[in-house]
């Protein structure tokens, strides 16, 4: 009998919707919700012994969440960890991707399922992820793909495209026979000769973000200031990187009407910070935001600003920051954010 531990978010375990998104991790015995169908698909050789669940905001926004979830998973002594499907839900996908990475790192067999555009795919760090549909209406076929992948994984076989394996192959540095300039000349001559397909870099397939609906009445909502301008307290207490950021930080503006020069600095590596340091509010416009707040133009200014450094940041990290910011801001009841970019 192969012991399966299944991870789902708060919605699919029936804890609740967005109102329950901040629920912390919990474990119940046996299969729950879609886990029952998974159990049926896997058959009698497998047993879903436990289901671990967590709210999306907690799972995506709380740094210790993945460790807590993994601890609950491990306590149930799984032979294989089955994660999701997360469909195209960003926060759920981040949690699934991170759990797949952490479980694999810990030596457990694990497989997650999500839609190919889910930002959680980048979090899996090469751990197995298979394709799911875009939304829960495709639960049936998505679970069938996942169950087939679980059987292969347990049998010690590699997952391939045929099993819906997602994630593009890692692009690793290697030394070519000729330098890039000579290869570029060869490529342009091939192109002039009629080859319109040749390239060393496949075009990335960026997803399209549908903008949120406009806020109906700004005077009734909490608005946050967020920035990639790397504005931090002068001592840079969180050691925010000036380039190639792997993390973001948040600083309180509660009770403040200004961000004085000297107290806050920009550590951004991509522009001259002289003007920013003379008036930090040109990066994070607290002065103007407070005016708007006192005029009643916005309901309330959020009590902290979120910040990272947008300089040489990988698209994967930038997507993750965005998803984590959404989780963090939603948790705080923020309905609109002003992102200042440098």
């Amino acid at each position: 009998m192969t012991r399966v531990v299944h991870y789902l978010n708060q919605f699919f375990t029936g804890v609740g919707g967005e109102d329950a998104a901040s629920t912390s991790p919990a474990r119940t015995d046996g299969a729950v919700g879609p886990g029952r169908k998974l159990q049926a698909l896997l058959g009698d050789d497998f047993e879903v012994v436990a289901t671990v669940s967590c709210g999306d905001d907690y799972a995506a926004g709380e740094p210790k969440a993945v460790d807590e979830i993994l601890a609950l998973v491990k306590d149930a002594k799984p032979d294989v960890v089955v994660i999701g499907p997360a469909f195209s839900s960003g926060r759920y996908g981040l949690a699934c991707g991170r759990l797949a990475a952490a479980a694999t790192q810990a030596g457990l067999a694990a497989v997650a399922a999500m839609h190919p555009d889910n930002p959680g795919l980048d979090e899996a760090a090469g751990a197995p992820v298979v394709r799911s549909g875009e939304a829960a209406r495709e639960m049936g076929p998505s679970l069938e793909t996942l169950a087939a992948a679980v059987r292969k994984l347990v049998a010690g076989e590699d997952l391939t495209d045929a099993e819906g394996r997602l994630g593009k192959p890692a692009r690793r540095n290697r030394v070519a026979d000729e330098n890039a300039a000579r290869r570029a000349v060869a490529l342009v001559l091939a192109r002039l000769g009629g080859d319109r397909e040749a390239t060393e870099v496949p075009l990335p397939n960026f997803d399209q973000v549908t903008p949120a609906a406009p806020v109906e009445d700004l005077s009734q909502v909490t608005v946050a200031l967020v920035s990639e301008g790397a504005l931090v307290p002068a001592a840079n207490p969180d050691k925010l990187e000036s380039a190639r950021a792997t993390r973001w930080a948040h600083y309180s503006v509660e009770g403040r009407d200004s961000l004085p020069s000297g107290e806050f600095i920009s550590v951004h590596g991509g522009f001259s910070t002289v003007a920013a340091n003379e008036d930090p509010q040109r990066i994070v416009p607290l002065d103007v935001a407070r005016e708007l707040e006192s005029e009643g133009a916005i309901g309330r200014l959020h009590g902290e600003y979120l910040v990272t450094a947008g300089n040489g940041t990988s698209v994967g990290n930038a997507k993750r920051f965005g998803t984590e910011w959404v989780a963090d801001l939603r948790k705080s009841g923020v309905r609109a954010a002003i992102l200042t970019a440098t």
Partner: protein, 439 residues
């Protein structure tokens, strides 16, 4: 027709190979050995803001790490006192690129030390660095400096630049009377023979040129052309000899791996690769240099302008290069699209920013219409360096907060010229198949 622009005369390189270096009482070049008087060399750095200037050699194979590298210059001169080399900065601001230029090949003058907006740039003179930096393959005369507190850093930067160019000219001057080891001839710039495109080049060959974007993001992130900052300029057309003679000089200290040192403008790899095929597979059409504006309107203006300039100069195809990170990707991508719209084939050289594990999207701003891209490697991949005996340029590597001589792991992004946008390196990306089971 043809042979009608820029006075129709090319440039002859008189190349002197540098096989060995030393410090000595006077500066000389003899039988491949370059001996430098540290006192004579330091005398070129007259700017007081530099403080005490120190000179030392770092040669390939030595257990030495150079950190905080700012720029590198190849020693060159056109005659006694420079005779017009580095026009606009050392020589008068007059068009260059004709006549003869003496080149000390295998040596570089390298400045290393703190500047406020500079990002940590590292080179080891030992393995595995030979494939990761042009400077791991040259004998480097490293210039260190020691500014007093409260100094104006822009003055420090300008003083360094001026001193490096003067020193480079003086070193090459030591070889003026030596017989060259090689002679190389660069063709003059010619516009289209028939004044049109599609095989309008010599012998019916396609006319292929380069578009070289120069970083123009303000102090410490700018590039000088004939001595003037190129910020705010419109694209212009240069011949290869002008680059050889130092018409383009770097004042850009960000993005170490994606930096174009003065040394590589003097030895532009894409221009060199095009000239290798000149008269055989293609007719070299020249180099369009373009600024990289920081705002979208500026980017769109210079990209459309550069594409039009290429069309007017009879380009059938162009190879595009950048300097900088994701922002500069946009300048290459936009130009590629504008060129393809005008029927000019475009190939862009891009570094990839695919994340440490190589699975993220590679290009921050990809082209929409053009598709042909060459990869100069992944920015984020980590490389481990062994401990070394000595370090130049600084006592610590700020990026990892370690002593500069320590064993350390750094992203490829930190190595000077590792992902050379000008196409110097052999680095590229290959795809590896992932395993599913934990290893």
């Amino acid at each position: 027709m043809a042979e009608n622009n820029n006075a129709g005369e090319g440039l002859r390189r008189l190349v002197h190979d540098v096989d060995a270096v030393a410090l000595g009482d006077r500066t000389s070049y003899e039988s491949g050995t370059l001996t430098v008087s540290a006192d004579e060399a330091a005398a070129h750095f007259t700017e007081e803001a530099l403080g005490q200037v120190r000179l030392s050699w770092a040669s390939p194979g030595e257990s030495v790490r150079i950190v905080k590298i700012l720029d590198a210059v190849e020693p060159r001169t056109k005659g006694p006192g420079g005779a017009g080399i580095f026009p606009g900065l050392l020589g008068p601001a007059r068009p260059q690129g004709r006549g003869e230029t003496h080149v000390l090949r295998g040596a570089a003058v390298v400045a290393a030390g703190f500047l406020p907006r500079a990002q940590e740039a590292v080179v080891d003179m030992t393995a595995p660095m030979a494939e990761l930096s042009p400077l791991a393959n040259t004998h480097n005369l490293v210039v260190e400096f020691d500014p007093p507190p409260g100094v104006d850093w822009a003055v420090v930067s300008a003083g360094l630049r001026q001193g490096m160019l003067a020193l480079a000219a003086q070193l090459a001057g030591a070889a003026l009377d030596a017989p060259p080891d090689h002679e190389e001839t660069l063709p003059p710039l010619r516009t289209s023979a028939q004044g049109g495109r599609s095989g309008g080049g010599q012998d019916g060959l396609p006319r292929v040129g380069a578009i070289t974007n120069l970083q123009t993001q303000g102090t410490f992130k700018e590039t000088f052309v004939y001595g003037r900052s190129f910020t705010g300029a419109l694209p212009t057309l240069l011949g290869p000899g002008e680059l050889d003679d130092g018409a383009v000089v770097s004042g850009q200290f960000g993005h170490p791996s994606l930096k174009n040192p003065t040394y590589l403008y003097q030895n532009h790899p894409v221009v060199a690769a095009l000239l290798e095929r000149h008269g055989k597979d293609l007719d070299f059409a020249g180099v369009v240099i373009s600024p990289e504006p920081v705002d979208q309107v500026g980017k769109e203006l210079v990209c459309a302008h550069a594409a039009r300039l290429c069309a007017d100069a009879g380009f059938d195809a162009a190879l595009l290069t950048k300097e900088g990170g994701g922002n500069a990707d946009a300048d290459v991508a936009l130009k590629m699209d504008r060129l393809e719209e005008l029927g000019i084939a475009a190939v862009g050289l891009f570094a990839e920013m695919a994340g440490p594990d190589g699975t993220g999207p590679s290009i921050v701003v990809p082209p929409n219409r053009a598709t042909a891209m060459v990869s100069t490697g992944n920015y984020d991949e980590k490389v481990e360096l062994a401990e070394v005996e000595r370090a130049l340029g600084g006592a610590r590597v700020a990026l990892v907060d370690e002593p500069a001589t320590a064993r350390m792991e750094l992203p490829t992004a930190a190595f000077y010229g590792a992902l050379s946008p000008l196409g110097w390196g052999r680095l590229t990306c290959g795809e590896t198949v992932m395993r599913t089971a934990p290893s």
